[in-house]
Amino acid sequence: MKFETSLKIALSKGRIFKDTLPLLARLGIEPVDDPEKSRKLILDTNLEQVKFVMIRATDVPTYVQWGAADIGVAGKDVLVEHGGEGLYQPLDLRIARCRLMVAGPAGASLQGDRLRIATKYVKAARAHFAAKGQQVEIIKLYGSMELAPLVGLSDLIVDLVESGNTLKANGLEPLEHIDDISSRLIFNKAAWKMKHADITRFLAAMREAVEG
């Protein structure tokens, strides 16, 4: 695939990078360096016009919103927390799939006055309980949510669940489903308009790669 303009694609290390590469490979885009080994943050690809920008998953929407990258791959969980302002999200890549769930000690009750919920996903958690008509206290954490109920910091947690093994290892279990999560292809609004020909072809090819 050839592009008229330069395209910067924001990706995060780990699962999203690993799952996005096969899709990009079908468009003939492959990285020159291995991000796990290289310390470079902007990676060259086999196409001169295309660069990968390697950033933390939670920063991807911000970089793309600002136009520091034209395109990005971000999980729905991250997009909900970011708000998605100033971004187009036309394609669900159906990768990095998992579920956003309420979890707690086995048999814990979902009822109760002002339950304390530990989570990284503040907006999603608040919206979920508000939709059920339940007022809760949200405790924002940045990781290892599983610990919070064990040490009495919270009653329940809201977290991403893939296999459920981490929960199980800590004596917790998934209690309630909130949302199915997968990664979306996101676009900067201005890039969408100014690099429209390239962006449209890229999007069409990615759509084919996802569906085909």
């Binding site: 136009g67 520091a68 971004l87 609004k189």
Partner: protein, 394 residues
């Protein structure tokens, strides 16, 4: 908490030191002079108003963005304007009350409780022009012409114009019989061009396949060729939608005749200001920002709450942003003149004359530290052969 760094400005609040402030002021004057030449009358609306007057359109966003204080005289809530457009509409509808078209322009600081995007200013200097009293694409063209010239005068070299029409989505929503909630859900998904979400909502609301397909199509109707594709994909959408597409085509054609180098981009899912816009909407984008720097459109119903709905179209942008990104050449001012503290009338008179001619003359204060150069002067007044002369710095 002790406040140590009291020199810090609040977040998103900016100031301009010399010479930037004077440069911005120069640009502001040139813009207002241009609007004056186009027949746009300057208005100076108040910084504070009753909330009801500021929030005409019912949009929640504007209410959240407005700083509020309690009026200690009436007990009512006052808002610091977050947008000057409602004030211009009030002045047109209530104060001027003309039948003939009214052309208004303004430049003033607005305040936002939250920046519009990360690290944006919370005190933008909003500059804009509004044309009231004519419902036709000629007004759109005049406003777009002025918008393009504003960008040019600000020195913004590379930009893209994006055109849309809120009437298309609004009309489709009505045809599909959407309630307020359904319309809002589809609106939000369309703003993100989230095709899969639109499909989910369409299924959930049990819309007819024809309407469902048209909402999905809207998300994809962007680009230079969007109008051609729209005419096929929305062919069954009825007269009002086709009229809207026709208006877009005419405006694009008119723009092309005026500015052959500008190829507008169409985006039928772009519904900025959906709650108060009624027709064509537009925005100017620049490559290095990734955000719009100018926006505007038609808003015919706005004046109703002030007693008179008048056709209206206008644009505005943040002059601080335009100033920052524009590349303007040196305007070529003459260097300032340093003069000794005047002990004789001849010097006083000569300085007065020079200042009258628009020159900048700075007196040396007796015993001051720093010389002419440090005072930003390039020339000085020196007495030679009994006469005061302007000479290069010695």
């Amino acid at each position: 908490m002790a406040i140590d760094h009291h020199w810090l400005l609040p977040e998103g609040i900016d100031e301009l030191p010399p010479p930037r402030a004077a440069e911005l002021e120069g640009l502001r004057r040139r813009l207002l002079d241009m609007y004056e030449g186009w027949g746009y009358d300057l208005i100076l609306p108040p910084f504070l108003e009753y909330m009801e007057a500021l929030l005409v359109s019912g949009g929640d966003d504007l209410a959240l963005r407005t700083f509020k204080v309690t009026d200690l005289i009436t007990g009512r809530t006052l808002g610091v304007r977050a947008d000057i457009t409602p004030q211009a509409a009030r002045i047109d509808a209530h104060k001027l009350n003309r039948e003939a078209p009214a052309r208004l322009c303004y430049c003033g600081t607005v305040l936002h409780t939250q920046p519009e995007n990360p690290a944006a200013s919370r005190a933008p200097l909003q500059v804009g022009a509004e044309l009231y009293g004519h419902d036709g694409i000629e007004s759109e063209l005049e406003i777009l012409d002025l918008l393009v010239r504003t960008l040019d005068l600000c020195g913004v070299e590379e930009y893209y114009l994006d055109l849309g029409h809120v009437g298309i989505f609004r009309n489709l929503s009505r045809q599909a019989g959407l309630d307020e909630q359904g319309e809002q859900a589809l609106f939000e998904a369309l703003q993100r061009k989230a095709t899969s979400e639109i499909q989910e909502i369409v299924a959930e609301l049990k819309l007819s396949p024809e309407h469902g397909a048209m909402f999905v199509a809207l998300a994809e109707l962007s680009g230079d060729d969007a109008l051609e594709r729209a005419e096929q994909l929305l062919s069954g959408a009825g007269d009002e939608v086709l009229t809207a597409l026709g208006e877009l085509r005419q405006v694009a054609q008119g723009l092309k005749e005026r500015f052959p180098a500008i190829a507008p981009h169409f985006d039928l899912a772009e519904l900025r200001g959906y709650h108060y816009h009624t027709g064509i909407v537009f925005a100017g984008f620049v490559p290095e920002l990734g955000q719009e720097v100018m926006r505007g459109g038609r808003y015919n119903e706005y004046g109703r709450s002030f007693g008179r709905a008048r056709p209206a179209v206008g644009f505005s942008g943040d002059l601080r942003t335009l100033f920052r990104i524009g590349k303007r050449g040196d305007i070529g001012t003459k260097p300032a003149i340093f003069a000794p503290w005047p002990e004789e009338k001849a010097l006083v008179d000569q300085v007065a004359q020079l200042r009258g001619e628009g020159r900048r003359v700075i007196f040396a204060l007796p015993g001051q530290s720093g010389d002419a150069r440090e005072q930003g002067c390039g020339e000085e007044l020196r007495k030679e052969a009994g006469e005061w002369k302007i000479l290069p710095l010695s």
